[in-house]
Subunit: 318 residues, 2 copies
């Protein structure tokens, strides 16, 4: 049972399911597990860390995977892209900023260029930059995304605007109903983050994984406070969706105050046990309501396909 789409054909994979390149979750082990299950895994490069790239590309062994970058971070450390290309990744994903400065190097190296966008304007920019695949990410997503567009409306808008470039849906996709909805909206597949972050092979701690299982989507929100306290220089138009906790409740709306006393707060933040979710960040998208267990990546891929097939009926092509 599978879905054949232009994405599966382009990547030479069985199922149109991609792993989001999440820092501190999508290491080589998880990326390899998603690919081995018939999907396709992207390792996260952190903030364009060559060391992370080398380590996690090697950790994937001989399994065909990709790597994802944060464009504004890559601008400061462009050598991380060279590090990635040494490993001949099947695909490179560029997100959060203009992909144009890096696009030609990716394509010249023979990797497929995936650009993740958060608005229709960014989609057009990615098309102009030569993207082979465009990922339309709604603000429903966990972790960082835009704040302007939601998944439901963004996907068909981007599909119409960039045709015939294949589009992948991201943001609140956490089960087969989400995959099925993405396909009928015109996408060629999905990118899943939160669902895979709470998998056996994820780099997340057990506390974070159990936190995702317990979390309610109503309790997630886009915020900048975790970036401010960690000193992560995210542009203000890319907030991060996390589960509301005591720390975010204290600082939301007081971002300037937090920035002004960052050193003290950062020390306090780092000193809390990593397992203290009343302070530490639990990134989660609005699909987290649907995350009720911590299965293997393979189980997630196969279950998602089976659910989508059930949601769509047997006659869906592929």
């Amino acid at each position: 049972m599978t879905f054949t789409t232009r994405l599966t054909e382009l990547l030479g994979i069985e199922h149109p399911i991609l792993l989001a390149p999440m820092g501190s979750a999508s290491g080589g082990a998880l990326a390899a597990a998603v690919t081995s299950a018939g999907g396709f895994g992207f390792v996260g490069s952190g903030y364009a860390s060559s060391e992370t790239v080398h380590r996690e590309m090697l950790a994937a062994g001989n399994v065909r995977i990709g790597v994802g970058f944060i464009n504004w971070a890559l601008q400061d450390r462009p050598e991380a892209l060279d590090a990635a290309l040494e490993h001949d990744p099947a695909a490179v994903m560029l997100s959060f900023g203009d992909p144009t400065p890096f696009a030609s190097r990716v394509k010249q190296a023979g990797s497929l260029l995936f650009c993740q966008v958060q608005t229709l304007d960014m989609a057009k920019q990615a098309a102009d930059a030569g993207a082979d695949v465009i990922i339309a990410q709604g603000r429903d997503a966990g972790g960082h995304s835009g704040h302007v567009r939601g998944t439901f409306g963004l996907v068909p808008s981007v599909v119409d605007a960039v045709a015939p470039i294949p589009v992948v849906a991201a943001g609140a996709v956490a089960d087969g109903r989400g995959l099925a909805a993405a396909l009928v909206l015109g996408a060629e597949g999905v990118l899943m983050g939160t669902r895979f972050a709470a998998s056996k092979e994820s780099q997340w701690s057990e506390v974070l994984k159990q936190g995702a299982v317990a979390a309610a989507s109503d309790d997630t929100e886009q915020t900048r406070v975790f970036d401010i306290v960690r000193g992560a220089a995210w542009p203000t138009h890319f907030p991060g969706r996390a589960v509301r906790n005591a720390f975010s409740a204290r600082w939301n709306g007081r971002e300037e105050d937090l920035a002004n006393q960052r050193d003290a707060e950062n020390a306090r933040y780092d000193a809390t046990e990593a397992g203290d979710l009343s302070t530490g960040v639990l990134w989660a998208g609005e699909g987290v309501d649907l995350v009720k267990d911590i299965p293997s990546a393979r189980d997630i891929v196969l279950r998602t396909v089976a659910e989508a097939r059930k949601a769509l009926g047997a006659s869906w092509p592929g």
Copy 2:
């Protein structure tokens, strides 16, 4: 060609497409046109105005329609519900606040109770109140909605939580791909606003309709400034999605200032020509990218069904 769902069976209609009860757009003529095309129309009651209710219910003639209320406004003017029930509406929609105080009157009068909700918690409240149908409205919607949940993630969450109560998807649904996606996410139909606001039978001015055709979803945003200047007492957790213009650009982030000088600004706001979209509000959801013409309500219903059938393939049940 149609889709038979638990919604169409409950309402005795042909197509699972509902007209949102939009103030200043969904009058009796539009509601009747949607029902006559095989969907189901809700007239807007404004801010619980008995006069509007009587006038628009009568304007629908003998066509079977419903009426929608804003719960916090109905609290102040409960007589508007009595006015509505005099017309034996097939359904009453309650939205934006706790439906419990009004639920039993609706059901005792023999009307179906539709509750529109914006979070999973509100969905559970509506189920407890005895809702016959629950409309899950994402913040992707035009006009007023919540700011916590997006359509893509909210729909399956609500479907799971309130089963077997039928769920309808709202927010950025503007074509047949959206209807198809709603169905595979587990909804029994859709509620469309912006798409019908830009129809021939809508009460909107030609300037507003053409404005919607010209608008880009990237340029919509949730804001409170139009409510503040008009003196509409919306709770802060129900902002309104509108197309950004000079007025909203001037006041966003300065809501308190605007409230403090409301009298002067209100006079200025009212004095601008209704056709001046640099000041006046153009409510629009994130589906507005897909609004490219001003057809009849019948054309919208039939086109949406045909597109959904194409998106889903012929074997979809119904």
